[in-house]
């Protein structure tokens, strides 16, 4: 049975970020989420991402972090390729360069870069939080904020089911292999979904019986085993997150969300290099994905 590790899960550690209250972290993740959607200024978003990378360094999670980013980034770079030739932007577009049948537009580069930077900044902050927070601590903190227990628990259960399903897929696939079925690649994973999900439903039913038999969902006062401290520094960080969000929104409102689509001029050479690099990354990724599937 293959031991597929969950790629996105907590990395043990004792950094400042690890010890920070989950809610303080959540405030920052949500703030960055809102900010990233509120502006399209690529320079601002790139700056935000760089701050995020600073946090990755602080938390000491580069190895696990870059493993996830290596999968996500090539997909994200496709944004630059497609946007540069067909910007999601109102006309008129300003052509910068022409490669064969394609014309690269100023607005396309801007839009592609900003979408990429937006996705990157959100992902970095979210990953920092996920990789430094014990899920139970997050759920404990949320329930202290009166997030409904059941909702909270459903979140926790979903996270729980991931490794279980992965393991079950492994079991089913080796069972199928032993009956002479194909055992690697996508072609093998798909048929194993049916028994796995049938199994998952039974599992969820059994689990809900077992949980209710342990008084889950009872109405009275509940206590919690994991004790999550709320120190002054957690308050400071959390409030700073809100303040940062407020300042950014105020700035955006007064500056047209820092719009630079007409002022940030990309020289043709830079534009071509950018698009070419993105295209190479993206095509390389697609090719390697196809290769993995074919080889399997």
């Amino acid at each position: 049975m293959q031991g597929v590790a969950v790629p996105v899960s907590m990395v043990a550690g004792n950094s400042f970020i690890h010890r920070l209250n989950p809610i303080a972290k959540l405030v920052w993740v949500l703030a960055v989420l809102v900010i990233s959607f509120a502006t399209r200024n690529p320079l601002f978003l790139i700056a935000l991402s760089i701050v995020g990378l600073g946090l990755v360094t602080m938390a000491g999670i580069w190895r696990q972090f870059s493993r996830v980013m290596l999968i996500l980034l090539p997909v994200a770079t496709s944004l630059i390729v497609f946007q540069s030739v067909a910007p999601a932007f109102p006309q008129p577009w300003t052509p910068i360069a022409t490669i064969g049948p394609f014309t690269i537009y100023q607005e396309g580069i801007y839009s592609g870069l900003s979408l990429l930077a937006r996705a990157t900044s959100m992902t970095i902050f979210a990953l920092v939080m996920i990789m430094t927070t014990h899920p139970s601590d997050l759920f404990t903190s949320l329930s202290r904020l009166h997030v409904p227990y059941v909702l909270n628990f459903m979140l926790a259960m979903t996270l729980q089911l991931i490794p279980v399903l992965q393991r079950e897929i492994g079991v089913v696939m080796s069972a199928q292999k032993s009956r002479g079925m194909k055992s690697t690649g996508f072609g093998a994973v798909i048929p194993s979904f049916v028994p796995v999900f049938a199994g998952a439903i039974e599992r969820v039913q059994q689990l809900s019986i077992s949980l209710e038999s342990r008084a889950f969902g009872s109405s009275g006062h509940k206590t919690s085993y994991r004790q999550v401290a709320v120190r002054p520094v957690d308050w400071v960080v959390g409030i700073a997150g809100f303040a940062f969000l407020a300042v950014c929104i105020a700035v955006f409102l007064n500056t047209g969300a820092l719009d630079m689509s007409r002022t940030l001029i990309f020289p043709p050479a830079l534009a071509i290099v950018l698009v070419a690099a993105a295209a190479v990354l993206f095509v390389g990724f697609i090719a390697s994905a196809i290769w993995v599937v074919i080889r399997a």
């Binding site: 729980q160 599992r203 809900s208 209710e212 038999s213 342990r214 008084a215 969902g217 009872s218 085993y225």
Partner: protein
């Protein structure tokens, strides 16, 4: 152990039919179990053991749909009309597939879950978790991942998770069916100890006739949803024709004695149900012969 035993589980003419089925899974069950008793429920696959046990904490009919007739009273309340999460204070239940019962990240949190739901204060919770893990021999496993334990360890964890809630009744449904012989032995020992030392009422559905003969105060045999025998292991296992008819094997010690008796060896003593009984009885007889 209380000398004055009071009924804690009472079934009065209980019949049950699963929603998806047109046959009765339980038919006209009437039985009384006293506090502190250790009762084994025996029967072949499909006899109704699980169904009967699910009625004890109200999973039937509150979580599993179907038609229930009759009355189930447990610790003074009507179990058919009380939410399972309320019954949880009195009845702890452990199933045969331990990994389906795990939901938490660590062993300690798994045990804590029920206590959190009951609102047990943090300090007391820690003590209860430690006690429960000690009772099932899982000391030092607090921070391990439940899903990364062995089947036997998982089953003991499932028991601890229920024990920590201090129920008066422990219901177990073939708790050892997925375990190796050592794992089985450990679980049976735990149940016996809880019954003996803590006076906990134990209701155990099992296929392990030998083991039940040794531990249970009383054996209830189900067949086709009906109670066909109900008595001490000795009384029940002596009913050879009945057991043969429904396809249940008595313990080997009993079989041996019955074979000796029918073979003309003139066995007149009580029938043994455990190996120890048999040895004692045979020794006495042999000593008699030698003399």
């Amino acid at each position: 152990m209380p000398s004055e035993r009071a009924p804690i589980i009472e079934f009065d003419r209980v019949s049950f039919q699963y929603a998806a089925s047109d046959a009765y899974a339980l038919q006209d069950i009437s039985l009384t179990i006293d506090e502190g008793e250790y009762v084994a429920i025996l029967g072949l696959n499909g006899a109704g053991k699980t169904t009967l046990e699910l009625c004890i904490n109200g999973i039937i009919p509150n979580m599993v749909m179907g038609d229930l007739e009759g009355e189930v009273r447990v610790a003074g309340v009507d179990a058919t009309d009380t939410p399972v999460r309320e019954m949880a204070k009195t009845v702890g239940i452990v199933f045969d597939n331990p990994e389906f019962q795990m939901s938490q990240m660590t062993v300690a949190e798994e045990v804590a879950l029920g206590l959190e739901n009951l609102g047990v204060p943090y300090e007391e919770m820690r003590g209860r978790i430690a006690d429960a893990l000690a009772m099932v021999d899982l000391v030092g496993f607090d921070e391990r991942m439940p899903l990364a334990l062995s089947g036997g360890q998982q089953q003991r964890l499932a028991i601890a998770a229920v024990l920590a809630m201090r129920p008066r009744i422990l219901v177990m449904d073939e708790p050892t069916s997925n375990l190796d012989p050592i794992g089985k032995q450990e679980v049976f020992e735990i149940a016996a100890r809880l019954n003996r030392d803590n006076g906990m009422t134990v209701v155990m559905a099992e296929h392990e006739v030998e083991v039940m003969a040794r531990y249970a105060d009383r054996v209830i045999v189900l067949d086709g949803g009906r109670i066909v025998a109900n008595g001490t292991p000795r009384e029940v296992f002596a009913q050879r024709e009945l057991l043969e008819r429904i396809g249940l094997r008595p313990p080997q010690a009993t079989e041996l004695a019955l074979w000796l008796r029918d073979g003309g060896a003139g066995w007149t003593d009580l029938l043994p149900v455990t190996a120890d009984d048999a040895v004692t009885a045979l020794e006495t007889r042999l000593a008699g012969v030698a003399r």
